[in-house]
């Protein structure tokens, strides 16, 4: 028997360069489950759908196909909050299909009606804003310039960071949006430089406008250190910018568990970049769905979605990436598990990640973990 899992990400469109690694993350979890041979409900296969990230109609149609034509039992996705909300309302709820999004971070989704079908492994922006403010003010930084990618993710993050940072006595000299995938960021960099600040906070994506702004800032000497949000995390950035990035720092969802490292090793072995933004979250999303199915002993969304919170949170046997087989055994044996995964998943409230963060800095061209929050 076959169990199908929908993977609904923007494989074309503005996020097309980060989605392949996200898709690969999900595939990795599925492969691991299949290879373990412990998944009794059938062979799991991934069916991909293209959400385009921006086109709600296209995303809805793609989801509609996944659900009604391909008959998937759950969806990893979508990626961008806007289309994710549309898919949730127009496809998932009507058809009663569960979704776990690896990257939709909009706080508005927390309050959206979801009939208990929607979860996310990426923490909501609100939490990250606080973490950022903490890190910066602990380093004694009083004023920063901020640039964010002009979508709900960036804007939400900018808002929450602004509030949190002000509460700690810091100032944001300028909060300038940038559009992803544009040709030129000189205007943004010019304004950011003019406004000044001890460093630049970049709330964008690692190989999109965020990278463009950093590149141009370094080239023109506008800023030399950067705070990097979770979307900016990745080896790709260091590769592209190189040595000038030394001294910059940031935080990504994660705990002091070896989960993240382990996932990266597995990713490298599988031939993709595990540090690419939201790739670990995707692994976790897929893994969680499958664990939940096993726990519910059913592929029906109504059944498995009830198990997700349980599995993701303590108490229970901690599960790291690469231990899905073991997890399945435990579940079959009736032992409670606590899925930690690649990003230290901890779901709170309406099924969203609690948000543990791993603070890191870039030294000598490598990412070094500094601590955990």
């Amino acid at each position: 028997q076959e169990v199908k899992l929908g993977v609904l990400l923007g494989f074309t469109g503005p996020l097309e360069s980060i989605t392949p690694a996200m898709g690969a993350g999900a595939d990795l979890a599925i492969k691991e489950v299949n290879d373990s041979g412990k998944f009794t409900l059938g062979t799991v296969s991934a069916v991909r759908g293209d959400s385009t990230c921006i086109d709600a109609a296209a995303a809805t149609a793609a989801a509609e196909r996944l659900v009604t034509a391909d008959g998937v039992s759950g969806i990893v996705g979508g990626d961008c909050s806007g289309v994710t909300g549309a898919v949730l309302q127009n496809v998932a709820r009507p058809n009663g299909i569960g979704m776990i999004s690896p990257s939709a971070t909009s706080p508005a989704l927390s309050t959206a009606e979801d009939d208990g079908l929607f979860f996310r492994t990426a923490p909501s922006d609100a939490r990250q804003g606080e973490i950022m403010a903490d890190i910066l003010s602990e380093k004694g930084i009083k004023s920063v310039a901020l640039t964010y990618t002009n979508n709900d993710y960036g804007k939400g993050l900018a808002d929450s960071f602004g509030t949190a940072f002000a509460a700690k006595g810091g100032t944001v000299t300028i909060s300038a949006p940038h559009e992803d995938g544009k040709a030129d960021y000189s205007a943004e960099v010019a304004s950011l430089a003019s406004a000044g600040g001890e460093m630049l906070v970049v709330a964008g994506y690692v190989d999109q406008g965020g990278k463009g702004v950093i590149q141009a800032s370094i080239d023109s000497g506008a800023f030399s250190t950067f705070y990097l949000v979770d979307g900016m995390y990745g080896e790709a950035l260091i590769e592209a910018i190189g040595e000038p990035l030394n001294g910059s720092f940031g935080a990504v969802p994660g705990t002091d568990s070896e989960g993240a490292t382990k996932f990266q090793e597995m990713a490298t072995a599988a031939g993709f970049d595990g540090t690419s933004a939201f790739s670990p979250e995707s692994y976790d999303a897929a893994a969680l769905i499958l664990m939940a199915m096993a726990a519910a002993n059913s592929t029906n969304s109504k059944d498995w979605t009830t198990k997700v919170m349980d599995l993701a949170n303590a108490p229970g046997e901690p599960i790291l990436p690469g231990e899905l087989g073991k997890a399945l055994e435990l579940i079959a044996a009736g032992t409670d598990i606590d899925y930690i995964g690649a990003t230290a998943v901890e779901l709170v409230g309406a099924g969203e990640s609690a948000g543990n963060y791993r603070e890191y800095s870039i030294t000598d061209g490598a990412i070094t973990t500094v601590g955990f929050r």
Binding site: K182, A183, A193, K211
Partner: protein
């Protein structure tokens, strides 16, 4: 009062980047304007032609790099450029043979050709992504800066730095040279004139013994060369990603149109107009003013007319304003 520093800030953050970006747009716009001028339609596939040309160049650059060939301080990509141009030209000629020629024979309306070029755009879009993927590709080597910000500070002792990148210089110079060549070619050479004649009145061009196939072929070859040059220089300065090249289409068209379609001079002027209006209007003048006024009067606010979120809006508003007063662009363009 510190005029020098104010000037350097302005140069570093507004003028130099604006100039480079303007030149990049101008190079793209030259190709668009040429196709419009001769073949009389807006070629939506131009952005993806740029991507294709750049992709080919990148592949050969990598090959050269792996063989240890380099070009001194200049990027190796410039060595691979002719190959990129040749391959792109072949591809584009093939497209013309398979696609556009049919509609030309039919004397189809320009808007149909626009839609056809949209179809070609989708196809090229797919091909480029299938071959090189969607990711950023870095292929720059050689020396990065003519002068870096830090070096400038050390050299001059000023508080502010000025950075000029090799690629920026190469781009600006190339844009001006190419514009001059194109202008000269179209206005002065026999082939160039025959191309203009063909675009003006195809039937009469036949009656003058002009070979239409040759005109079309030459146009496409030049357009392919322009697209590849523009794409490679842009890629060297920023980075190569197919999606961005597609997005470049909009400002490129804006530049070509506001300059006056069909006019090489207009393409250059339009490129700079778009680039500078993007950078200038949303610029926060705080720093410049701070240097200029006595310390006590240093401004609190950012002195920004509009947020950078409106940079496209503003540059478009300026474009519309220009068009209201000059309905066919700065340099009396054509219209079909």
């Amino acid at each position: 009062m510190d005029i020098l520093n104010a000037l350097v800030v302005f140069l570093n953050f507004v003028f130099v980047p604006g100039l480079a970006y303007g030149a990049q747009l101008a190079l793209g716009a030259l190709g668009v304007t040429l196709i419009y001028g001769i073949l009389r339609f807006s070629n939506f596939a131009h952005g993806d032609t740029m991507a294709l040309g750049t992709m080919v160049t990148i592949l050969f650059t990598w090959w050269f790099q792996s063989m240890g060939i380099s070009f001194g301080v200049l990027p190796t990509a410039l060595l691979a450029l002719p190959i990129g141009i040749a391959v792109t030209a072949l591809f584009v000629l093939g497209t013309d043979r398979v696609v556009y020629r049919f509609y030309r024979k039919q004397k189809a309306a320009p808007v149909i050709l626009v839609m056809v070029s949209l179809g070609v755009m989708f196809v090229m879009n797919g091909i480029v992504r299938l071959i090189i993927g969607v990711d950023d590709q870095n292929f720059v080597d050689g020396s990065r800066f003519v002068i870096a910000a830090g070096d400038f500070r050390e050299m001059t002792g000023l508080a502010e730095g000025l950075a000029i990148k090799t690629t920026q210089v190469v781009t600006v110079v190339t844009a001006l040279v190419v514009m001059g060549l194109l202008f000269w070619f179209l206005q002065k050479t026999r082939t160039g004139k025959s191309m203009r004649a063909f675009s003006d009145n195809e039937d009469l061009a036949l009656l003058s013994g002009i070979n239409p196939d040759r005109v079309v072929a030459v146009t496409w070859i030049i357009a392919a060369a322009l697209a590849t040059i523009a794409g490679v220089l842009y890629g060297l300065d920023k980075s190569f990603r197919p999606f961005v090249y597609f997005q470049l289409l909009l400002p490129i068209f804006a530049a070509a149109i506001v300059g006056g379609l069909g006019s090489p001079l207009g393409a250059i002027a339009g490129g700079f107009l778009i680039a500078f209006s993007e950078v200038m209007v949303t610029y926060a003048w705080k720093k410049v003013v701070t240097y200029l006024v006595p310390e006590s009067m240093a401004p609190e606010g950012l002195l920004q007319l509009m947020g950078t979120d409106y940079k496209f809006a503003v540059s478009f508003a300026i474009l519309i304003l220009v068009l209201i007063f000059m309905p066919t662009g700065l340099f009396k363009g054509k219209s079909v």
